[in-house]
Symmetry: C2
Subunit: 114 residues, 2 copies
DNA sequence: GCTAATCATTAGCCATGACTGATGCAGCAC
DNA sequence: GTGCTGCATCAGTCATGGCTAATGATTAGC
């Protein structure tokens, strides 16, 4: 499985997306996350493990606490994956236009949705 | 569940991502997808239903065939979701820089990963 | 040393969902 | 009409994964 695939699997569940949303603004401890996430500490740790394996979050030890933060590198892979479709679909659309109306509308704006 | 959440759940499984990848360049029939995807036609149809409900693909009937294509609107929601983290994390990073090195480095490039 | 707090990991339970096979339905050819 | 093709949907099975409870490891404070 590629990095992007692992990352996409990881964010494919609401609980983990919620964790990412909590961690994005600033790093948080497992305890803080548990308090805010109607779940056991065990469940939170298990989700964090998946996110760690996917490279989406990074950890930092401070005393007995572990502070989690978002790691931008893997998030970049997710962006790249989504952008891949974007480009493919827009390219196909542009092709369709040139096929159906030959010689017209060469100024197709492939960034219209961006 | 929001549109973005539904879309992210839908792409959270390898089989459906593979379908999206096949459909992205140009529309395809269910038969074509089944031939290429070591799966039953039934399984393909079920995945397509999930993608349809998530708004990620659109259908077009042509005779007895159903031609599927990617729908850009929901894909835009996915992009927006990812970009949300991006902005949060970069903002937090910028805040950290100004906190730890006051009066220095005001030219922080928040687009370095983009 | 002991105790408390924080977190990871394990074992086990249960719900969800991914899949197959069967059936039903619509459109086309004859 | 009959038959065939392409697809959706239903019913049922099985594996996956998300969850809790319990336990273990580590660190801090006493």
């Amino acid at each position: 499985m590629t990095d992007a695939a692992r990352a996409l699997d990881a964010i494919g569940t609401p609980a983990r997306r919620r964790i990412l949303e909590l961690v994005a603004p600033h790093e948080r401890s497992v305890r803080e996350l548990t308090d805010e996430l109607d779940m056991t500490q065990s469940a939170v740790s298990q989700h964090l493990k998946v996110l760690r394996d996917a490279g989406l979050v990074a950890v930092r030890a401070e005393g007995t606490r572990r502070l989690y933060r978002v790691d931008l590198d893997q998030l970049a892979q997710v962006r790249a994956w989504v952008d891949g479709f974007w480009d493919d679909v827009l390219a196909a659309f542009a092709q369709h236009v040139t096929d159906t109306s030959p010689g017209a509308d060469t100024g197709t704006n492939t960034e219209e949705h961006r």
